[in-house]
C-alpha cells in the first residue's frame, strides 16, 4: 500500500487527473440516474398526490398521460353507486400544446371540480379557479414564460386569466395546468364529458373486490393508481430512459479508461523498479497488489470527489433550471462506490498482467 501511495504521489498532476477522471464518471452517473429518477417521479406526480386508490378509464386505456380517455355517459353515477365506493373525483384531461413566447410547450390540462378535488395540491400563489375563464398554471412553467398572476393566456380559442400558481406540478418536458371541469368541457366541445374517475374505496372495503365490481361496468377499465403510474413510466421510459442509461454506462466505461490509462502509464514508467523487485524475489501477487492498490486509491478519491461534485451540481442545475428534478438517494452513492471499485478493478487488470509477464533480466537490458 505504501509503495502504491508513493507511486501515485510522485506525480501529483497525474494523480489529480486520475481522480478527476473517476470523479467525472461518478458525477455523470449520479446526475444521469438522478435525472432519470426525477423524470419518473415528475411523470407520476399527479397520481401520487391526488386522492383515491383506483382509476377508472375508458375501455382499453391503461395510461393517464399521452392518451385520450372518454368515459361512457352515466359512468360517474354508476361508479359512485357501486358497493364499496366511498367517493369519486371526475376529471377531464388531455395534453395541449401551448404557444408561449414563440416556443411550443407541451402541458397537461386537467379539468376538475374544485369542490370534489383532483386539482392542484399545493398553491405557491393565488387561488383555485372560480370561473371558466380562470386557470392555475404550474409556477415553474409560468416563470419560464414570464407569466404572473393576472396575466392572460390564449388556449384553444379562449383567453384564460392566470389566478393561481401551483407547486410540484412541473417536469422538464411537460407541466400541468388546471381549469374547472366545465371550462374544459366547453374547450373540447364535449358537454358533460369525463376522462377519468379517481375512486376512493370505503374504509374496510377490499380494493380488489371493489375493482372487480367496477370492472363489470360497460365500457370502462379499472386499474390501481400504481399500475397506471407504472404504465406511464414505461411509456416515457421508452423514449428517454435508453439514452440516459446508455450515457451513464459510457460514463462508467470512460472512467475505467481514464484510470486504466493513468495506472498503465504509471506502471510502465516504473517498470524497471518492478523488475528490480521481481529480481530480488518479490512474488507476482505482491506486485499485483501494488497495482490494484494504486487503482483503488485513485478510484476511491474519485468517488468521494464525484459524489461531492454531484451534490453541488444537483443544487446548481435545479436552481438554474427548476423544471429539472434530480433525485439523489443514499443507494445512489452506494452504487457510485460499487462502480468506482469496479472501475478500479477493471483499470488495474491490464497493467497487472503486464507486470506479471515481466522478465526481471529484461528490465536491466532496457
Amino acid at each position: 500500500m505504501l509503495m502504491a501511495r508513493r507511486n501515485l504521489g510522485r506525480d501529483r498532476t497525474r494523480l489529480l487527473l486520475n481522480i478527476a477522471g473517476v470523479a467525472l464518471a461518478i458525477l455523470l452517473i449520479l446526475l444521469l440516474t438522478g435525472i432519470r429518477e426525477g423524470m419518473f417521479r415528475q411523470i407520476t406526480s399527479y397520481l401520487d398526490r391526488t386522492p383515491g386508490s383506483l382509476l377508472v378509464s375508458q375501455g382499453g386505456v391503461e395510461n393517464l398521460l399521452s392518451v385520450t380517455s372518454l368515459l361512457p355517459a352515466g359512468a360517474t353515477a354508476r361508479v359512485q353507486g357501486t358497493r364499496g365506493v366511498e367517493s369519486v373525483i371526475p376529471i377531464l384531461s388531455q395534453y395541449t400544446i401551448l404557444d408561449l413566447h414563440g416556443r411550443k410547450q407541451a402541458a397537461y390540462l386537467i379539468g376538475y371540480v374544485p369542490a370534489r378535488g383532483g386539482g392542484p395540491w399545493r398553491l405557491a400563489a393565488g387561488r383555485a379557479p372560480r370561473a371558466d375563464d380562470e386557470a392555475v398554471f404550474d409556477r415553474v412553467l409560468a416563470e419560464r414564460h414570464d407569466l404572473a398572476l393576472g396575466d392572460r393566456v390564449d388556449v384553444m380559442g379562449r383567453t384564460l386569466e392566470v389566478v393561481g400558481l401551483s407547486e410540484g406540478t412541473t417536469s422538464w418536458m411537460t407541466s400541468f395546468f388546471f381549469l374547472r371541469k366545465s371550462a374544459v368541457e366547453s374547450l373540447v366541445r364535449l358537454p358533460g364529458a369525463t376522462s377519468f374517475l379517481l375512486v376512493t374505496t370505503d374504509e374496510g372495503a377490499s380494493v380488489d373486490d371493489v375493482r372487480s365490481r367496477l370492472a363489470s361496468l360497460d365500457g370502462v377499465d379499472v386499474h390501481t393508481k400504481g399500475e397506471i403510474a407504472a404504465n406511464d413510466r414505461k411509456l416515457f421510459a421508452r423514449y428517454f430512459s435508453a439514452p440516459v442509461t446508455l450515457m451513464a454506462a459510457i460514463a462508467a466505461l470512460v472512467g475505467a479508461l481514464v484510470v486504466g490509462l493513468v495506472i498503465y502509464t504509471a506502471t510502465v514508467e516504473r517498470q524497471r523498479d518492478f523488475g528490480v523487485l521481481k529480481a530480488i524475489g518479490a512474488p507476482n501477487r505482491s506486485l499485483y497488489l501494488v497495482v490494484v492498490a494504486q487503482s483503488l486509491i485513485a478510484s476511491l478519491g474519485g468517488v468521494v470527489a464525484g459524489s461531492v461534485l454531484a451534490i453541488g451540481a444537483r443544487a446548481g442545475i435545479m436552481a438554474l433550471r427548476p423544471q429539472f428534478l434530480i433525485v439523489l438517494e443514499p443507494a445512489d452513492f452506494v452504487l457510485a462506490l460499487v462502480v468506482g471499485l469496479g472501475i478500479a478493478m477493471v483499470a488495474g487488470l491490464y497493467p497487472a498482467r503486464r507486470i506479471g509477464g515481466l522478465a526481471p533480466a529484461e528490465v536491466f537490458r532496457r
Binding site: 467525472l24 400544446i97 366541445r189 459510457i250 490509462l261
Partner: protein, 370 residues
C-alpha cells in the same frame, strides 16, 4: 510539427486506440441523439405531408396534431366549403390512443375518415383496402407484423374490436403509428357526432393555399387555417422545442466525456515524451513549436475520432430501420457542424495542460531524470 505529432500518436497504439475509442463514442452519442430527433421531426409529419390536404383547419389557436386536441362544430364544414378557392373539405376525427393487437400494445394516431374522403386516408396500401368502412381498421404493416396479425385479424381500439381490412406503409414512427377507422365508428366511440377534429381542405386548381387559408380565417369564426407546409413546420417545432433540454444535457455529457478522454491521452502522451521534448528544447526548439505539436496531436486524434463517429452513425442510420421500422435516424448538416465545432473545442482545451507543462519544462532536468 504535424509529422512529429503523428509519430508521437502512432508510437503507442494502445493509447491511440483508447483516445480514438473514447472520443468517437462521445461523438457518436451526440450525433446519434441528434439523428434520432431529426428523424422524429421528419416522421412526425408523415400524416400531414401525405394527407393530400392543401390546408388544415383546426380549432382556433390549435396549431398541432401531436399531443394536441382540436374540436370543430360539424357546421363549420359547410362554412369552410363556401369560401372561395376551396375545392373539397374532408372532416376527420383524431386522438392518440393505444391499439391492442393480441398481447401487443402500441400507441397510434387514430384517424377517423369518411368513406368518401378526398384527403386524410392511408396513402400507401400494402394489401387490403383503403377505406376502413364500418368495423374495419387500416393498420400499419409493421405494427401488424409485430403483433403477428394480418388481414382479417382483430385489434382493440378504445375498448371496441375492429377487423384489419387494410395494411398501410410509411405510417409508423418512434412516437407511434397511424391507424385509420371510419368517421362514423369514431363518432360512436366518442358518443358525439356533433364535432370533428380537423377539416382537410383541397384548394381549387390555380388557387394559392396561403390566400385560401387567409380567406377561411377571415370568413369562418373560431378556426385556425394553415397550409400543409406551415402545419408541418409547427409540428416539427413541437419535437424540436420538446427535445431541446434533453439534447442540451446529452451534448454537455458527450462533450465532457470526449474532453476527459482526450485531455488524459494528450497529457499522458506528452508526459511520456517529456525527455524527448526536453532534448528538443535543449537544441533550441521554441515553446510555440512544441505547443503546436501537442495541438496537432489533439487535432489529429479528434479528427480521426470524428471520422470514426460519422462512419458509425451513418452505419446506424442504415441498420436501425432494418431492426425497427418505426425508428429512423437522419444526420443533419447542423448536427455535423455542431459536432465538428465541439471536436475542435475538445482538442483545444485538452491541449492546454500539456502545453503549460511543456512551457515549464527545464531542458536540464530531463537529462538529470534520465
Amino acid at each position: 510539427m504535424i509529422r512529429l505529432a503523428w509519430r508521437n500518436l502512432t508510437q503507442n497504439p494502445a493509447r491511440l486506440l483508447i483516445s480514438l475509442g473514447g472520443v468517437s463514442v462521445a461523438l457518436v452519442l451526440m450525433l446519434t441523439l441528434d439523428a434520432i430527433f431529426t428523424g422524429m421531426e421528419q416522421r412526425v409529419t408523415a400524416f400531414i405531408d401525405r394527407s393530400g390536404a392543401d390546408i388544415f383547419v383546426s380549432q382556433q389557436d390549435v396549431r398541432n396534431m401531436h399531443m394536441a386536441s382540436s374540436s370543430l362544430a360539424r357546421g363549420q364544414q359547410a362554412r369552410v366549403k363556401s369560401v372561395a378557392g376551396v375545392a373539397s373539405v374532408t372532416p376527420i376525427l383524431y386522438v392518440t390512443n393505444p391499439i391492442l393487437a393480441g398481447k401487443d400494445r402500441s400507441l397510434a394516431y387514430i384517424i377517423g375518415v369518411p368513406s368518401d374522403a378526398k384527403a386524410g386516408g392511408p396513402w400507401e396500401i400494402e394489401s387490403g383496402r383503403e377505406d376502413p368502412g364500418a368495423g374495419g381498421v387500416v393498420l400499419d404493416v409493421g405494427v401488424a407484423a409485430k403483433a403477428g396479425i394480418g388481414l382479417g385479424g382483430e385489434v382493440e381500439i378504445l375498448g371496441d374490436t375492429f377487423e384489419v381490412v387494410g395494411l398501410s406503409h410509411g405510417t409508423a414512427s418512434m412516437a407511434g403509428s397511424v391507424a385509420f377507422i371510419s368517421l362514423d365508428d369514431f363518432a360512436d366511440l366518442r358518443q358525439d357526432s356533433d364535432t370533428v377534429s380537423f377539416l382537410l381542405v383541397e384548394t381549387a386548381p390555380g388557387e394559392a393555399p396561403e390566400q385560401v387559408a387567409a380567406g377561411i380565417e377571415a370568413r369562418v369564426r373560431d378556426v385556425t387555417a394553415m397550409t400543409r407546409q406551415e402545419f408541418a413546420r409547427q409540428e416539427r417545432k413541437v419535437v424540436r422545442d420538446m427535445s431541446t433540454d434533453i439534447l442540451a444535457i446529452m451534448n454537455i455529457v458527450g462533450f465532457l466525456i470526449g474532453l476527459a478522454v482526450m485531455a488524459l491521452t494528450v497529457y499522458t502522451g506528452t508526459l511520456s515524451r517529456r525527455a524527448e521534448y526536453g532534448v528538443l528544447k535543449a537544441l533550441g526548439a521554441r515553446n510555440g513549436k512544441l505547443a503546436a505539436t501537442v495541438v496537432w496531436q489533439a487535432v489529429i486524434s479528434v479528427s480521426l475520432g470524428f471520422l470514426i463517429a460519422l462512419i458509425l452513425t451513418s452505419l446506424l442510420t442504415v441498420a436501425t430501420p432494418l431492426a425497427s421500422a418505426s425508428l429512423r435516424l437522419v444526420i443533419g448538416l447542423p448536427s455535423v457542424a455542431k459536432v465538428v465545432v465541439t471536436s475542435l473545442v475538445i482538442a483545444g482545451v485538452a491541449s492546454l495542460l500539456p502545453i503549460w507543462q511543456m512551457a515549464r519544462l527545464d531542458p536540464a532536468t530531463v537529462f538529470r531524470r534520465r
